[in-house]
Structures are given as C-alpha cells and as structure tokens.
Assembly symmetry: C2
Homo-oligomer: 307 residues x 2
Amino acid sequence: MKSEVRVFSPGTVSNVACGFDILGFPLESIGDEMIVRKTTEKGIKIKNFSDYKLPLDISKNAASVSALALIDSLNPDFGFEIEIIKKIKPGSGIGSSGASASGCVFAINKLMGDPFTIADLIKFAMKDMENDGMFEHPDNIAPALLGGFVLVKSLSPLEIIKIPTPDDLYCTVIHPHIEIKTAYSRSILPKDVSLVNATKQIANFGSLIHSLHVSDYDLIKTSLNDHLIEKHRSKLIPNFYEVKSAALEAGALGCSISGSGPSIFALSQGIDRSMEVEQAMNKVYSGTSIEFSTHVSKIGDQGVKLI
Amino acid sequence: MKSEVRVFSPGTVSNVACGFDILGFPLESIGDEMIVRKTTEKGIKIKNFSDYKLPLDISKNAASVSALALIDSLNPDFGFEIEIIKKIKPGSGIGSSGASASGCVFAINKLMGDPFTIADLIKFAMKDMENDGMFEHPDNIAPALLGGFVLVKSLSPLEIIKIPTPDDLYCTVIHPHIEIKTAYSRSILPKDVSLVNATKQIANFGSLIHSLHVSDYDLIKTSLNDHLIEKHRSKLIPNFYEVKSAALEAGALGCSISGSGPSIFALSQGIDRSMEVEQAMNKVYSGTSIEFSTHVSKIGDQGVKLI
C-alpha cells in the first residue's frame, strides 16, 4: 500500500441557476492539490503550501475536520500529514472548502486501501460544513467527489444522483475579489416564494435534467433561468446584471451566481465560445475598480483524482 | 382522402405528485371515442352518443371549440360532424374535456391531410380551456396528443417536452363520484409556499425526470412526493389519506391526486402490482357510502390514435 498520494480536487459550481441547494458540477481546470502521507505518529497534521492563509488548527480546517471524521471511524495506529496547495481562493463561491474536504477524504481513503464508498466519503466531507454552526448542503462536495452534474435529492437520508454531462459543455467563471459570507448570503433569502415562481423553477429544473440527458443545448439554454434566488443574491455582487448580459450576448447558454457568490458562472457550448464569454465578462469588470480573476473549464466528468 | 375517421383519445393524469401544472401522462385503457366525418354543410355539428350529458352548443363543448379554432385558420368549404362516445366521466380529474378537445383536433387534422403539427394541435386544443374564463395549463392536452410523460415547460412561448416512459409502468386510478370544480380546487391553493418546500419539490421533480430516463423504479418511488399541493387539495377528497396509505402498502411506487381531483392515481411497476393496488384502494371506498369506479392502465406511449 502506498504511503503517500497526491490528489487534484476540483472547484465546483453549485446552484446552477435553477438548482438552488440541489445541483452542482466540478470544474476540470481549477482545483486544489494536496499531498497526503502516512505518519507513524497518530492524528492529523496540516501544512499550508498556498498563497492563501489557511487555519492550521485541525479543528478549524475543512480538510482536517473531514479527515478526523473519517479516521475516527477506523482508528488506525498511524496518522496523516496533509500538505495543501490551495489554488481556489477561499470565499470565492466555487467550493474552496468543499475541495479541501473532498480531496482529503479521497486521499486518506486511497492510503487505507479504499475501505469507504464515495457515498461514505461525501458524509465525512460534509462534516466540515458544520463548522460555523450552520448546516450546508453537499452540492459542492458531491460533485467534487463524484464528477459531472450531481443532484442532491435529499439530505436525510442522503440521496445523491449523478446526471449525465454533455460532452461539449464548458464553464466560464469570473470571480470579483470581494467577500460575501455564505451565512449572510443565505440570510437575505426570503422564507417564502410565490407558487407561480416555484412552478416556473420546477419546470426549468426538470427540463434542465432532461436536456442534460439528451445533450440538447438549446433546451439547456432556456432551462438555465432562476426565478427564486438570483434577484436577491445579485444585490451583493457589483455589476452582476451587466456581466450576465455580456455573457449572454457573447453566446453563453446561461449565466448566474456560483454557489452563494461572489463568483459568477456561465455555461457555453464549446471551448471557443466559453473563451469569448470570458472576454465579454472580463470587459465589464475591467471598466471598474474591482479586482477579479477568470477561469474557463470543461465540466469534469471525473471528480477528485490521483495525480 | 378519407371522409370519416374514428379515434381513441386517452384520459390523462396531470400534476403527477411533484409536477403541479407541468407534468402529465395518458392512460391506455380509458379514453373517449369519437367519429368525425366531413359534411357538405360548412361548420361543426356535435352528436352525443354517451351516457353523460354534454353541451351540444358548439361554443360550449370542448371538442367543438377546439375544432372551430382549427378550421378558422383554414376555412375549408365543407364542415364536420362529431359523434362523441364519451367514456371518461366529465369532472373526474382524468382529463375528460382534454380528451374531447385532443381527439377532435387530431381527427379533423387527419381528415384534412395532416396540415398541422402536434404542437399546432395542442394550441387549438387549448382553446376550450379558456371556456370558464380561467386559463388552464395544457398538462392534459399535451400528453393526450403526444403520448407518454410530457413536461409543459412554458406556456408562452409554448414549450412541450416528451420524457421517456419506462416500459413496465402502470397506473391505477380510483374515481370517487363526487364533484370538485377545477376553479375551486385552484382557488384553495396558497399564493406563497416556503422556499424549503419549493426546494424539496424541485429536487423531487428533477429526480423524477432522471428516473424516467433511466427506468429506475426505486427512484421513481422516492421522487413521487408532493410538498406543495396535495395537503391542500386532499381536503376536498374524502378518505384521501386512507386510499393513499392503502395503495403504498400494497406496493405502489407513489400515489397522489390526479389533476385537480377527485380522482386519485397510483403508479406501480407491473400490471399485477397495479391490480393489487386497485384492490387495496377499492377496499377503502367500499367501506364508505361513496360511489366510485376504478381503472388500471399501462401508461400509453402513444396518445390519441385512429381506431
């Protein structure tokens, strides 16, 4: 059995316009790297090799909290050292802590000879989400671990469904460097929504699932519309509607908020179109004082993987 | 070209638990029959060969209103006589007027050499739904005309999507002989619903669409749950929850209200199970003074057809 593995753990886009709290997909070209090795000493140790500050207290880092949940259930007579090379900026809205948690449990499972299923790993990785006392949906973790579009049907019992991913679907992400706390972004959502809007959302979500099954890009386009969430959360993101309009004018199939923001994602058919969309989104923030970064990525059908 | 056709136009179940106003499917073994023939005299004439009273005023019968919408757009120099052999009791909640409308426009289109697409026919057949001044969703008409599970994604523009129907899926319907006006059944629905319940419904609907694509009967079962509508409309249907419990105990995949009621439908895998479910539902109403009738049917992948 190996004593050290290196993994790539992808960033993820959750909510996906009409799939608030239930749909997500991984990015192929942006993610964290982690090296996890066995140590003779029991327990978990974290080392940060990133440009970003990360909590090194093992009770506060997403990776170690998940790792502890996993090893608590096996109680091995050795420990693990986790080197994190974080490439997803924390708080960006593309699943930074989800990537740490997913990568770490995946790596430790490998080092122990794969005793756990992906469903088990999702549960361990969800542990860290309880950190701030607020239960979070696994719509970042499940796609990071499973790959492709993933529908979180239910939390209790945990029901996770992998949906087919069309071959030619690409994602553009623009990340304005501002901070939005997930808890705040959730607190501004209304408790109630109109039955009319809920019905529109249900229809869009059903047709999105169908369109992914049959790779119908025209239908993906008309389905990627949110009637419940975007109008509230967009207030927290400067120039959101200009970015969205620019993306759609450049030919994106759809554009909305990634997770609870501030990142904005757009889906496109083909990498060329996705790069044109990147240019268009880019142009909007270039005219402001906001710092930002962008990514173009195929939607990975594989999630976290050994590298 | 033929001068007379005879058609079978199926009853339909709409809403389908988690698909309020957007999903429906046709029944194969219960539907209206209609004979439509060309007449030298212009216009539309209706004859009722049914056990049920039907409006013979052509401005008030679902069949003729739809027929008029169709012929208005072509203005032929002949007319049509429509004989209706209605087998779906009006007001039962399994698309009685939708069957009349769908069968009639389908038959006239055949007699004229198929000038219209199914999408056109759906629009003509929707005409009659404006009769009582309230716009209705085409979740009965579209499955009656297209066959199989049909998702009504949007009304304006009209977007209709045919979803795959698993081979071994059967429907049991029990129709208590009480009257519920569609308008009243709609009026008792709340204007707003909680975001939490809307999210559960969206997840169930998405996974139902996925489960139909992959013929996953276990997933169909856990998806067929409504969080928005049933609790309100069930109050109008005596013994609803006893019937539902009995159906589920007998092995149904799911059970809810058909359309706006009063019929209750249950889906099952296989005809044997569907007949056991019929017995179980039957037993509940047999213990009451309510008259009722039941049907067991395969879910037709073809809608209205020539016979």
